[in-house]
């Protein structure tokens, strides 16, 4: 795993000292809120409904046990005993006092963590496939490139005041688990026919009030050009991105208004001047970073198959969990495990301090000290010997984190919504909880099959509703909550934006509406192998509209 070098250490320490001083001066009344607000945002401190909120960066979603324990410690000591893992692979604490934040940041720095660039119009935390370095279907681990981007973009003087925030995601597999086409830049690490590494480059994806699927602007960019090409894109954006209107300031709007061909021309033009300069990555530097991400020494554990077979016979619930939450590892003796933070009726993405501690222990004992945060708001143990799966399962059962629902309808993404967020129009969490309870039966969920349900409490779309197979958007209508449903969205390699199905539903109707949609799907699918999304793409919205609204149409 990547370790801070001297520069990182000194930089983070200096930043903690700066910000501590700024907080002190703010509390003493020496600087005003207008002066302080941009400073606190640069350090991940927001103000929500009930308190401040601290957003901590988890670069490419990778955590060590020690870091996870520190998050547990912060939850316990400074917050209210829990934290919220987000779709940006970060963690948010909902209750810190401003006066405690310097101490929290100092604690974080002691385990090489911080909250820098988790807000503001800069290049944000680079996200990655949560199975990076473990997945059987991956060409190479994309995280070294995410790390190169992190180092390059940290307090980058030219790109610290962009027209708007800028989000980059990377994947190293054909199967996109990092939603790269919904990002400002999406990078797909792949090999060309000579076996060399490079990237397919996508730009201009995004969610928010104007959802757009990214456009591919290059099919193969040799890896040594990662930074020169990214710089070229950012220069074009920095120069031409709209600063006159916050809602039109993301690169997606620039790409849309300028046209892809013209954007490609401009980027290539910039790039010609940069590509052979100092931004060209020396092979030795890439190799040095790669060595930080060298996979753990996975010793042969061939007894795994037999162990899993026996344990299955013994426990049906273990078998269900294996089928749903265990992912194929590139080493056949190993597996990647999804720890569901979506227990039935629980808050998506929340974990308590003691759960964090326990997950850290499990990762230390069975998982080479590695934990990932997924953009789907779950935790991942990327490397577990199949022979240890039963022990891991038992340990997860003990802390109520063994729900076998990965990729099923109760594996819901939900933003904090109106229960916490100052920008929200409606609540998200209670909607997620009620839907989860309605579909509590795992047997029923498995019969329904893969179904990604995503909920946002306002059009900012932090809960990815646009790209949910079923998306739910909370709006405010005449002072009351109303939920708009979209169908057919997807965030994988065939990304699509969902379509609004019709009039919205009140808080008391939304769960019934979701059930109607699911039942309609069950009625029209060709057989059990046709997933919800495939069925929707085959038949379109008509049968769903009919089921949801036909009785009204007749009554009218």
């Amino acid at each position: 795993m990547y370790r801070y070098d001297e520069f990182d250490h000194d930089f983070v320490k200096a930043r903690v000292a700066d910000f501590s001083d700024q907080v002190e001066r703010r509390l003493a009344g020496e600087i005003t809120e207008d002066q302080f607000r941009p400073l606190r945002l640069m350090n991940g401190v927001y103000l929500q409904l009930h308190a401040y909120m601290l957003r901590i960066a988890v670069p490419y979603g990778t955590l060590s046990s020690k870091q996870m324990r520190m998050l547990g410690h912060i939850a316990r000591k400074y917050d209210k005993g829990y934290g919220h893992f987000t779709t940006r692979q970060n963690i948010q604490f909902n209750w810190p006092a401003l006066s405690d934040i310097p101490a929290i940041l100092a604690d974080l720095a002691s385990v090489e963590m911080h909250a820098i660039q988790t807000s503001g119009n800069c290049i944000r935390n680079v996200t990655a496939d949560h199975f990076a370095g473990a997945a059987a279907d991956e060409v190479a681990d994309p995280r070294p490139y995410a790390e190169i981007l992190r180092q390059w973009s940290s307090v980058h003087p030219e790109f610290s005041y962009l027209p708007r925030k800028f989000k980059i995601a990377v994947t190293g597999a054909e199967r996109d688990r990092a939603a790269i086409q919904t990002h400002d830049i999406g990078l797909h690490l792949k090999k060309n026919d000579k076996g060399e590494l490079g990237f397919a480059v996508y730009i201009g994806g995004g969610q928010g009030r104007t959802p757009m699927v990214a456009k591919k602007i290059r099919d193969f960019l040799p890896e040594q050009h990662l930074l020169s090409y990214t710089t070229a894109i950012l220069r074009v954006y920095n120069l031409h991105g709209r600063r006159d209107n916050k809602y039109k300031a993301r690169i997606k709007i620039l790409v849309h208004e300028t046209g892809v061909d013209e954007i490609i021309r401009q980027v290539e033009h910039e790039w010609q001047a940069l590509k052979d300069g100092e931004l060209k990555l020396p092979e030795a530097d890439v190799a040095a970073i790669q060595s930080y991400f060298a996979p753990p020494a996975l010793t042969a554990r061939p007894e795994g198959d037999e162990a899993v077979k026996l344990a299955r016979l013994d426990s049906k619930s273990f078998g269900d969990w294996i089928d749903q939450n265990v992912f194929t590892h590139r080493n056949p003796d190993y597996a990647a495990v999804t720890i569901s933070l979506k227990g039935i009726g629980e808050v998506p993405g929340d974990a308590t301090d003691s759960q964090m501690d326990a997950v850290a222990d499990i990762a230390e004992t069975y998982g080479f000290d590695e934990i990932r945060v997924s953009h789907e708001q779950n935790l991942i143990l990327p490397h577990v010997a199949r022979a240890d799966l039963k022990a891991v399962y038992d340990a997860l059962v003990a802390i109520d984190l063994a729900t076998a629902n990965s990729n099923l309808i109760s594996d819901i993404i939900a933003c904090p919504g109106l229960d916490y967020c100052a920008l929200a129009n409606a609540r998200s969490i209670p909607v997620a909880q009620e839907i989860s309870k309605r579909f509590a039966s795992l047997e029923r969920q498995r019969d329904i099959g893969e179904l990604k349900l995503k909920i946002s409490g306002c059009i900012n779309a932090c809960g990815h509703h646009h790209v949910g197979h079923i998306g739910i958007l909370g709006v405010e209508k005449k002072g009351a909550e109303l939920y708009q449903v979209t169908l057919g969205g997807s965030a994988d390699e065939h990304t699509s934006v969902g379509e609004i199905i019709g009039r919205g539903f009140g808080p008391d109707e939304i769960t019934d509406a979701i059930e109607t949609i699911v039942d309609t799907y069950l009625g029209i699918r060709l057989d059990r192998t046709e997933k919800f999304l495939d069925a929707y793409r085959r038949v379109g919205p008509a049968p769903f509209k009919e089921a949801l609204y036909a009785s009204e149409a007749k009554a009218a």
Partner: protein
Amino acid sequence: MKILTANRLTDGEAVWFAADGTWAETIDAAETVGDKADEARLEAIGKAAYDNNEVVDVNLIDVSLVDGAIQPLRLREVIRAAGPSNRHDLGKQARPAAGAA
């Protein structure tokens, strides 16, 4: 009918301006006003408290009286006054009722 609300600078706690001139931690203590002149007075108090670095995010919000209790019109403000609707063990709603009585 309106009341004045904000978040306390030091810890972000939601607070309401009370008739006794303090910033109270519960909405029940808020001073309600019914005409433009009083609204302007509260606004001026809010601005002064902001300038004086006591509070941030100052707003006048709409409320009504329900059985004598102050009830915000927007759900957002109801949740601010109580705490997260999914976690009754958190926020003001979790505190002993003593302060409210």
